[in-house]
């Protein structure tokens, strides 16, 4: 008995609308993130992650309003990431009802931003998101981090970077494998394991989930503390409940 591993459905939201498509049965408006989050909340999700891919200022205001509505109806933790660049962005999101904010590119540009944010708001609400891609061979894999949604290489080693972010006050690492994202071939387990072993804070594995065994492997083989997935839940292939039951069967502590 002890701390449960977490299942986190992820919503990609643009100007207040879920864009990757969600195919719930009998939901009238499949693009409404508040309704979708409410469904996941009812289905037993342990947290919700909301990835804001909006580029415009007007869109960001819509996002804040959406976060506000979501927070008034969803009584599990809510993480919001995407475009978090300034202390004021974090303040706005927390005031709107986000429990945690995920910082990605801005941390690479200015690592002290993470330190400042953690000091200001506490590590518990600062998630550092890392997008990593394998470089070098499979025998001695290394991973490099990328920014701008995986478009810009940085030359920074992912394991070293994760350690640094841990020491700068990140409360959690959201780790996405660029190689696996969207493939449905499962998490990059070597990457997940390398980062999880290197840091003292919890690690959320992301990128590549295609079935329930992948979720269990993320924890059992990758050492992840939480697993994030989008499409397998959105398209109704599996429910959160089925995923939890499967993982529990595999010997993983879950909140059922």
């Amino acid at each position: 008995m002890g701390l449960a591993k977490r299942i986190i459905p992820c919503l990609d939201v643009d100007a207040g609308r879920v864009v990757k498509g969600v195919n719930f049965v009998d939901i009238r408006d499949a693009g409404d993130p508040v309704e979708i989050a409410r469904r996941y909340n009812e289905a037993g999700a342990d947290e919700i992650t909301f990835l804001d891919i909006t580029a415009t200022h007007e869109g960001r205001d819509t996002t804040l309003h959406t976060v506000e509505k979501m927070a008034s109806q969803v009584f599990i933790p809510l993480t919001v990431g995407g475009g978090v660049r300034e202390i004021q962005d974090i303040r706005n999101l927390l005031n709107a009802g986000a429990d945690k904010t995920a910082i990605n590119s801005a941390a690479v540009h200015n690592p002290d931003f993470v330190r400042e944010a953690a000091e200001r708001f506490g590590s518990q609400c600062i998630v550092v998101a890392i997008d990593a891609k394998q470089v070098g061979n499979d025998k001695e894999p290394k991973w490099e981090i990328f920014t701008h949604g995986g478009r810009k290489p940085t030359g920074i080693d992912a394991v070293e970077w994760a350690k640094k972010m841990d020491s700068y006050g990140a409360g959690e690492i959201l780790l996405t494998s660029m190689d696996r994202d969207g493939t449905k071939n499962g998490f990059d387990l070597a990457l997940t394991r390398a980062i999880s072993d290197a840091v003292s804070v919890p690690v959320i594995a992301s990128g590549g989930v295609g079935n329930l065994q992948h979720l269990a492997d993320g924890v059992l083989k990758g050492g992840a503390d939480a697993v994030l997935a989008a499409s397998i839940f959105h398209f109704g292939e599996y429910t959160v409940g089925e995923a939890k039951a499967f993982m529990q069967q595999a010997g993983i502590e879950m909140r059922i």
């Binding site: 002890g2 701390l3 591993k5 342990d46 927070a71 927390l94 503390d225």
Partner: protein, 216 residues
């Protein structure tokens, strides 16, 4: 039924929106007030002390608006009081966080760091303790009503109140060490976990608090 005034103390440190929304959900007909001054808290029927962040800022933020005498008056008057997370920790004697900070001393226990070498069965445990863990109810209490013993609540913290030699413990959780998931004393009940983020079990606890008369 009369409308209650439920006051949530706003001292700049917290997920007040979440706490307020959760209260509106369980007590839709009551008045929920976020108070930044003792004046705004005037006439409170019950009081919530939330808290997120580091202890020094929390203590300073709590003292500055004059919330210490307000809290003491409410305790004296027998008002039901709920502390949440750092809102519980500031009620303790002293915290190790930020190189040591004196707290309100409503409970004699200290607040300690989980440490960088926390282990369970040879496995290294991550800090912060983040996620859903089980709470063993150590006493019968109106706030545990209709909540199954061993239910999971959402935690996120790196500092804890030890359960050992602690007769104030109302609920206990294990994470490398046994710590106080909830403490109580007369009309005060305080939780290390976040009921407002703990789905059904958390909503039930808040509902119980809203109906609690402050007696154990």
């Amino acid at each position: 039924m009369t409308v209650q005034k439920i006051v949530v103390l706003d001292y700049g440190m917290g997920n007040l929106h979440s706490v307020a929304s959760a209260l509106k959900k369980v007590a839709p007909t009551d008045e929920v007030v976020l108070a930044t001054t003792p004046e705004e808290a005037h006439g409170a029927d019950r009081l919530i002390v939330p808290g997120v962040g580091a202890i020094r800022d929390c203590m300073e933020g709590f003292i500055r608006p004059g919330f210490v005498p307000l809290l003491n008056q409410c305790i004296e008057a027998g008002l039901p009081i709920l502390g949440i997370c750092v809102g519980m920790q500031i009620m303790m004697k002293r915290s190790e966080e930020n190189n040591g900070v004196d707290c309100l001393g409503l409970f004699p226990q200290p607040v300690k760091f989980f440490g960088t070498d926390l282990q369970e069965n040879g496995q290294r445990l991550k800090v912060p303790h983040m996620g859903w863990n089980q709470v063993q109810q150590k006493i019968d209490h109106p706030l545990w009503r209709d909540i199954e013993n061993g239910s999971r609540f959402y935690f996120v913290h790196s500092y804890y109140v030890p359960a050992e030699n602690n007769n104030a413990v109302a609920g206990e959780t294990d994470y490398g060490v046994k710590f106080a998931a909830a403490v109580t004393r007369n009309n005060i009940f305080a939780t290390q976990f976040h009921p407002e983020k703990s789905a059904d079990a958390g909503m039930q606890l808040l509902k119980n608090f809203v109906g609690w008369n402050g007696a154990a």
